[in-house]
Amino acid sequence: MNFEVLDKFNVEIIKKENSFEKIRVESSNLCDLLNFLKNSAEFNFDRLNTIIAIDLVDNFELIYDLHSINTSQYARISVIIDRNSPKIPSIIEIFKSAYYDECEIFDLFGIEFTNNQNLKRLFMPKGWVGYPLRKDYKQTDERLSWNEK
């Protein structure tokens, strides 16, 4: 794939051994980049496979896994978010399937998606304390421990 077109979005292309290549982008440019990738004829990434959130201890990484039906291509867009104020613009305007993904990440990582109005906890019960998939999460609810009686 020819990524030179993407320079205007201030991207950084990361290649590593044993890994797929990622396009690193600032969170402010994310929506524009995705819009471009979706609509340009060359890339035409029309399906968002999934959003993957990773806790990198110091900060969070979000990987947007894009697939193209027409050109059979893949792209992975990575965004790094600050751990102390985890906020990122929502992309449900571009890909509607992102809604559940964003809710899931909000639920399990506590990353807030701005302008996603109906952000809710998807899996965990209402009023659950903490975000389970963070590395520093500690199980505090005693009801969940295995008690033999």
């Binding site: 044993n18 029309d46 999934t50 993957i52």
Partner: protein, 380 residues
Amino acid sequence: MTKNRLKINIGPQHPSTHGVLRLVLELEGEIIKSCEPVIGYLHRGMEKMAENRTYLQYLPIVDRIDYLSGFFNSFAYCNAVENLAQIEVSKRSQYIRVLTMEMNRLSSHLLWLGTFLLDMGATSPLFYTFRDREVILSLFEELTGQRLMYNYYTFGGLRHDVSDDWLDKVGDFVKIMPKKIQDYEDIITNNPIFTTRTKNIGVLSKNSTLQYSITGPNLRATGIRVDYRNSKQETGNKEHNSHGLGYLVYPELDFEIPTAKTGDSFDRYKVRVEEMKVCLKLISQCIDWLKSNTGEIISPIKQHLLKVPEGEFISNVEAPRGVCSCYVKSDGSGNPYRVKWRTGSFYAVQILPKLLENTFYPDLMAIFGSLDVILPEVDR
């Protein structure tokens, strides 16, 4: 405004939600005005579990993500780890993996067919499909030791080889199966009650399937010929990524991908039935290869001492309910740093409110049933 509306809870325990899904419906007479799915009743923390287990310890748990098609999840995970650790998989084990996965797809579709028709009110197809599924499960039990939670794949191979005796049994099954599929079609395909209930009901347009990331047979029912098994995409360019499309030995096998046109419930039914026939075709090809070729299947690496070098990988598998992606990130230790599962049903639930709006209450079963949602896969 909501004065004449009846708010009704479908689930969490309800005969037709196939698990513990709760749908909050607002009815106006028999017309559904709004629908809100509530999920999470079956959340087991599959992704958290991976973080404090070794790669091998996590492997048996993976089967439980979608208990009806355990091989697919197992393969997606194994494939990711194998790619990260650069473990070669022998040809024979690849063929056995294809064989078992296609049988698994067949059994999964059979169960879907039975329960879908039961939701629609036809009782006897359920028993016929379960009768035939039972044969597959018995074969699996003979091969792997259990009926649903197989734990058969290992990193770089399989637990043990298949015997010729077993292959003969599968061959016999493949021979009788087309007749049985014909039986189901006789009972249901042209049945006027069934067709009027499903045709033009729950229509998914091409655009909205992609927007909502619906994959698998649901996507193909709209006419988009996309199948991750097939590397020979019709409109695609030939240079695809080395992973992804056309995994395992699928490029060597001869099969076509069934599609339909309109993307309504009937087409989803039709695509799945056709897919069952394709499965039979693939199975018989695999049997032929396996009978004429021998090879090593036991992986040379020490499974329980496996350490995976740093890196990350996404493996995409065409599971019966859509693309199953497994993301594995390794930090070089014996435990995976992060595992993320992407399953087809998760997105199928998301589209329900859109599909159900302004449909009749009985259409709920025709639509929801045809999407083939399974709840452990949604909640993980």
